[in-house]
Subunit: 354 residues, 2 copies
Amino acid sequence: MRPTLQTVADTVGVSRSTVSNAYSRPDQLSADLRDRILAAATALGYAGPDPTARSLRKRRAGAIGMLFTSSLSFAFTDPYAVQYLRGIAEAAEQARTGLLLLPLSVDDDVAAVAAVNEAAVDGFCVYCMPDWHPALDALAARGLPVVSGQRRASDGPQSAFVGIDEAAATRAAGEHLMALGHRRIAVIGDYFSVAPTIGPALLASPADVAYYTSRERLRGYQAAFAAAGVDWSTVTTVNVPGNCRDDGAAAAAHLLDRAPRPTAIAALSDIVALGVLDALRARGLQPGRDVSVVGFDDIPEAAAENLTTVHQPAADRGRRSGELLLDPPADPADRTVVLPTRLVVRATTGPAPS
Amino acid sequence: MRPTLQTVADTVGVSRSTVSNAYSRPDQLSADLRDRILAAATALGYAGPDPTARSLRKRRAGAIGMLFTSSLSFAFTDPYAVQYLRGIAEAAEQARTGLLLLPLSVDDDVAAVAAVNEAAVDGFCVYCMPDWHPALDALAARGLPVVSGQRRASDGPQSAFVGIDEAAATRAAGEHLMALGHRRIAVIGDYFSVAPTIGPALLASPADVAYYTSRERLRGYQAAFAAAGVDWSTVTTVNVPGNCRDDGAAAAAHLLDRAPRPTAIAALSDIVALGVLDALRARGLQPGRDVSVVGFDDIPEAAAENLTTVHQPAADRGRRSGELLLDPPADPADRTVVLPTRLVVRATTGPAPS
DNA sequence: CGCGCGTACTGTATCGATGCAGAAGGGTTC
DNA sequence: GAACCCTTCTGCATCGATACAGTACGCGCG
C-alpha cells in the first residue's frame, strides 16, 4: 500500500492539510514541524504529493500538448520539425512545464481524437496539421488554449497564431524565378490531393487545397507567376505523400522523364527539394543550369547543398508558440505573431535555359 | 461552468455511472441510451471524461516521462538524442501513450527534482544523466518503473536496462588505434570533472569519473591501450562541458597548440569529434594523416564527413527502452537488453606519423 | 408459481490531493 | 481583565471521474 498524505499525517499526528502545506506552502507552518513531517515522509517512502491528484485539484496539468502532422516518430526525421520542437521545448523549460508529445496514428482518426481527448494538458500547440483533421475539432471541443501555425475558420477565441506569411514567402521565390526568365514551372508539395500517392495533381486553383500551409504557399507562387503573365493552368503540380527525400526524387522523376521538362521546380519543403536535386544529378542534369530548384524552410542541409530556398525561423516559431501558450496576452491583437521570412538565393537557381 | 459527467447525467436523467459507461464501456448499456447520452453531451459541449480525473481514478497516467542530460532544448541539438527520441516516440505511439519531456534546468537541481516529482507519468526513461544527479534519486523514490541506459547501484527491482557495452565498444576503437601504431593519445569527453570548463582533466583512473557513460568508455580505451603496453598515465584527457561542435574544437586546441601533440584523438561523441576535425583543418592538419580522430555514436554527419567512429543503434535503443517501459517482461533477465555496436573505420584514422 | 439468470442501470465509496473558513493557543494592548 | 490579533493548525467540501456491489426487471424453465 503506497503512502499518501493521510498516512504521513497519521504518523506525525497532524492533519492532512498540514502535511500538504509542508510541501506546497512552507510559510504556513513552523520550520520545526515541517522538518518533522518531511522526515516522517522520507521514512515512510512517501515521495511527495501525487501529481495526478494535485493536477485534478489545482485544475492545472503542468504540461502542454503538441500535435504533429502524421505520426509522432516521423516528426523526428524532419529537421525543420526538430528545430521547431527545440524552440517549444525552450519555452516549456523556462516555464517549468512538461511537453507532452501526442501520438497521432497516421491513418487512425479515431485514435487521434482519443489521444487529444485523453491528454492531460493545459493547452495545445499545433504543428502543420491538415485542416480537415478530426483531431482539430476534438481540440476545439476541449476548449483549451491553442496555438497554431495555421488559421482555421473554427478557431476559438482562446486560440493564437504564430507563423509566417506563407504566401508572401513563396511570392518572393516565385518573383525570383520569373526574373530569371523561367516560364515552364512545376510545383511539388504535399496534400494537393487527399490520395497519398506520388504523381501529378490536377489543381484548377490553389484554393482547392485543403491543407493550409500548402494552399497558402501555392497562392504565393500563383500571384508571382500571374504578375509576370504566367497563367496557373500552365503550371504543373505534383503531389508527394510524405515529406521525405526519396519521395521528392520520385516526384521529380514524373517531371524530368517527359518532354518538355520544366525549367524550374519549386518544392514546398527543403527535404523534397533535396530529393529533386538527387533526381537531377541521377540524370546528369545540373541544378541551377539545366533546371532551377527552390526549396522552403532553409534547414541546415539546404545550406550544405547550396539550395536556393525560403528561410523561416523554425526554432523562433516554436519558442514563440510555447510562450504564447504558457502566458497568453490579454489583448487579442497580441495573439497573432507573424515572423519574418526571406529568400536565400544560392546555387540551385539560375537563368532559364534558352 | 464546464459540464461534467454529472451535468450530462442530470440532463439525460440517468446516473453518473451510466454516462461514464457510455464513454468507457459501451457494452454495458443499450445502444439507444448511449446515443442519447452522447447527443446530450455534444449539445452541452461536454468533450468527454476529464483526463486528469480519469487518471487519478484509474491510477494510470497514460504517458511516460523522458529525462535528459542537461536541458531539454539542448537535447534537440544533438542528432544522437534526436534519433533516440524518435525510437522512443515510436514505441509510445504504438502503445498509444504520450511522451512527456521533462524540463531539467541545467544547474537548478531543486527544479529538476521538482520536475520529476510533479510529472504525471507511468514510468520514466533516462537518457545519459550523470550518476550523481539528484533527479535520479527522486526517480527511485517515486517507485515507478524506470528504463535506463546506465547502471546504478541504487537501481530498484522495477528498473530495466537498455544500452550497449560501452567499454567493449571503445576497446575496439582503442585496439584500432594501437594497431595503427599510435602511442601518443588524447581522449576528449564530458563530465571528466564536475567543473564545467574546457581543458585538461587530471584523471588518475577512469574509475574516478562519476558519469557512467564516460567512465565506461574510458575504461574500454584504457583496456585497449594497456593490452598494447600503453600506460594510462601517458594518456591526456580533456574535459568538454557540453556536447557541441565548438566545444570539441576548443578542447582540441588545448592538444594541438602544444608540443608534442598527440598522434590520435579519441572523442567520446561524434559531435565533439567533428569539432576536433574543424580544429585540425583550421591549423592545416589533415585528419587521418597528421592526426587520427575517432568519434562515438555514428550520427549521419559522421558518415558525411568520413569520420571513423563507433556505431551504436540510436533509434533501436530508444524503441527498446520504450517497449520495456510500456510492457515490462515478467522475467528480470529479460529486463536487460544489450544492443550491438561496431567500429566503423573511415578516413579520419590512419597510421601514426613516424 | 417460484426459482434462477442475464441485462441494464443505480448508488456509494474511493482515487489523493488542495482551498478555505474557522478554531485553538499564546501574546499584546488599553 | 476583556478585546483583539497573529500564528499555526484542523476539518470539511471539493476537484471529476471509475469500481464494484447491489437492485429492478423481464424471461425461460421445471
